[in-house]
């Protein structure tokens, strides 16, 4: 028992060093982030440093609690988009998210009506929260894009631009719960829009993600109007301690999770979407290949990878996720199914050194 926890700690430290993650300052200080200084926050609100630079905020720090709440809420919505608000404060160029709460409205196209209802709920919730020590103000909103990636749609962009005019500082966060479960890592993005007419400097496109065909137009039209911020997470010392201990209990869930079963619909949808994209690409390439063969190479020099390359990347990604799921299934099968009654007698007396399969067939 001791060996496993200390080797896990060693592995984590090695990983942290390799990836240049700043080590948390020892216990007393890391909890300082939870203190709320009302005077300092009001002073910042008076100064409004963000009005001078549209690209002012560059980082986001999300607390463990906020992340957990948002992901659970997003997943509970299933295929329906959900939304909620986030509370926190600012710290120089970083927006710190301490907490999040869900709003009793579903993401629909007619967002304007929802805002009025949500506003009432928000005011009431903030008031009750202040009584129990949650002193932070609302600094952003989050919503989910189940299955189609983390980016801002046209309506999202206009909502956010409105927010950034009247409720600064404000942040938009998008979560994709379906892809989270499928990929095994949290799909989340934090964005801020540029003011109307602002020409952003030519930044390299952020981490590539697949967008389904029916949404790709919406994505393409607006992607230059906002930029994404880097996200880091933090947790309190008590949180870390509890989460470490929690591992002792939920390793069972890790083993028993089967992503393949849960994500069948999503995977099927992705494959179908890829098929459609392939058809589109085929017609496009066939058309341009023959007569434009001479002109194309010149134009395409500065363009991003061709349609077909993008599709092959998407297909690799979805296949890799599927393979991961299958690997888990095979491991579990070897572990638990490869025992036959004849070998159980031997099972107990086997030498159990190291992480070898426990029973040999």
């Amino acid at each position: 028992m001791e060996a496993s926890t200390s080797s896990a700690a060693v592995a984590r430290q090695t990983w942290e060093i390799e990836n240049n993650i700043p080590m948390d300052t020892p216990s007393g200080d890391s909890d300082a982030i939870f203190e709320y200084d009302d005077a300092a926050q009001s002073a910042i609100l008076q100064q409004k440093p963000w009005t001078r630079d549209p690209h002012y905020f560059k980082n986001v720090k999300i607390s463990a609690l906020a992340l957990l709440k948002m992901v659970v809420h997003a997943r509970s919505g299933g295929t329906i988009e959900i939304m909620g608000l986030m509370q926190g404060k600012t710290d120089g160029e970083t927006i710190i998210i301490m907490d999040a709460f869900a709003l009793p409205v579903e993401g629909t196209e007619t967002r304007v009506n929802a805002q009025a209802d949500a506003y009432e709920y928000m005011v009431q919730y903030s008031q009750t929260n202040k009584q129990v020590g949650r002193l932070e103000n609302v600094v952003g909103w989050y919503h989910s894009h189940p299955g189609y990636g983390c980016w801002l749609s046209g309506i999202d962009v206009s909502t956010q631009m409105l927010n950034q005019t009247y409720q600064e500082p404000f942040l938009a966060v998008v979560i994709d719960p379906t892809r989270t479960v499928s990929a095994g890592k949290v799909e989340i993005g934090a964005f801020r829009t540029y003011p109307q007419g602002h020409k952003p400097p030519d930044e390299p496109p952020s981490e590539y993600q697949t967008i389904p065909l029916n949404k790709i137009e919406d994505f393409g039209v607006h992607y230059k109007q906002y930029y994404s911020l880097d996200i880091t997470y933090f947790k309190s010392t008590l949180d870390s301690h509890l989460l470490d201990l929690l591992w002792n209990k939920y390793w069972v869930n890790t083993l028993s999770s089967s992503p393949l079963l849960g994500n069948r619909d999503y995977v099927a949808g992705q494959v179908a979407d890829l098929a459609e994209k392939l058809e589109q690409a085929e017609s496009q390439l066939a058309h341009s290949g023959r007569m434009g063969g001479f002109f194309m190479p010149v134009q395409r020099k500065k363009e991003e990878e061709s349609q077909l390359a993008k599709i092959s990347r998407d297909s690799s990604k979805i296949t890799v996720e599927q393979l991961h799921g299958l690997m888990s299934q095979v491991i579990k099968d070897t572990l638990f199914n490869s025992v036959t009654p004849a070998t159980t007698a031997l099972g107990l007396s086997l030498d159990m050194s190291g992480p070898e399969p426990m029973v040999e067939t």
Binding site: M1, F34, R75, Y233, T237, L246, L278, A309, P355
Partner: protein, 303 residues
């Protein structure tokens, strides 16, 4: 003494993180303004929400309560407005009980417990011990139920300990994992993703292995006679061993092989797509390279 009501309790990690955050927040706010040495850690109170189906009580979420410790008064209006708010967003969850922090049960706790009985006839009480004790391997959380016991001829309500299990939804597990172990968030390359996934499986299996080793060690010492013979334990171990193989039917094998084949098919398709994309690029490059030779009219196609 342990609970005899036969209810099984399931706890979600979100509740644990909620309570921990509530406590840290209050502590930080108090210590931020108070002079050193710090005042003793405050107790925080809240309600737990969840679903009770039959004999299983599953605790999903929680929210804070306003409790005046000096006057021992629970703010009812606050509780009700919070309850209403949470009902709007999570209509399926009911108030199942309450929580507080501290190292042990106190007498005042029973008063709060009784106050909540009008919302839920048999509320649960969740106690979290926020003192960080690194030697401790178990979660410092205990769940108590209230039971009517006759003590010295007087029937009274006392708290009895109940056991619980941790339950997670897949998304919850991934985000807890993400925050706890700081998994690589930009693992865009397939290699890092694979490594992360397999490391997770490996750690889980290592835990399983170590637990089984403990059992094995115990059994060996029973065999040697060092530890007294315990029938119930042996019965449990024997039933555990007899559970393997976990599933051994032909239908499972068929389904398993089919899923395996589906995945192989996907891999095949993906490889073909990649292949055709590479071919396409090759042809394009070839065309570009040999372009000049094609400009002259009447010239036959290149080869």
């Amino acid at each position: 003494m342990s609970s005899s009501s036969g209810l099984t309790f399931k706890l979600h990690p979100l509740v644990i993180v909620n309570i921990s955050d509530h406590y840290t927040r209050i502590k930080a706010q108090q210590s931020g303004s108070a002079p050193r040495p710090l005042p003793p850690a405050p107790r925080v109170y809240g309600c737990v929400l969840g679903v009770q189906t039959g004999r299983t009580v599953e605790i999903f979420n929680s929210f804070e309560l306003h409790y005046d410790a000096t006057k021992n008064v629970l703010d009812r209006a606050f509780l009700e407005s919070k309850q209403e708010q949470y009902k709007k967003v999570f209509p399926k969850y009911d108030v199942l009980g309450w929580y507080s922090t501290g190292s042990d049960i106190q007498d005042s706790d029973m008063l709060i417990h009784k106050a909540l009985t009008d919302i839920n006839e048999s509320p649960v009480y969740l106690l979290l011990n926020p003192t960080i004790n690194h030697a401790q391997k178990d979660l410092p959380i205990s769940i108590f139920e209230s039971e009517l016991h006759v003590i010295e001829g007087v029937p009274s309500l006392i708290f009895v300990n109940a056991s619980y299990t941790i339950e997670t939804v897949e998304a919850e597990r991934i985000s807890v994992d993400h925050v706890a172990h700081i998994k690589p968030s930009d693992g865009s390359s397939a290699a890092t993703q694979l490594a992360a996934h397999l490391t997770g499986m490996h750690s889980a299996i290592k835990m399983l292995n170590s637990r089984i080793r403990v059992l094995h060690h115990h059994l060996v010492s029973i065999q040697k006679g060092e530890v007294p013979y315990e029938h119930s334990l042996l019965r449990q171990v024997s039933s555990l061993v007899r559970r393997l193989p976990a599933i051994d039917s032909s239908r499972f094998q068929d389904d398993f092989v089919m899923e395996y084949n589906d995945t192989l098919l996907m891999t095949y398709l993906a490889t073909i797509t990649k292949c055709s994309s590479t071919m396409n690029e090759l042809v394009d490059k070839f065309n570009t390279a040999y372009d000049k030779q094609n400009r002259r009219p009447g010239h036959s196609t290149f080869i």
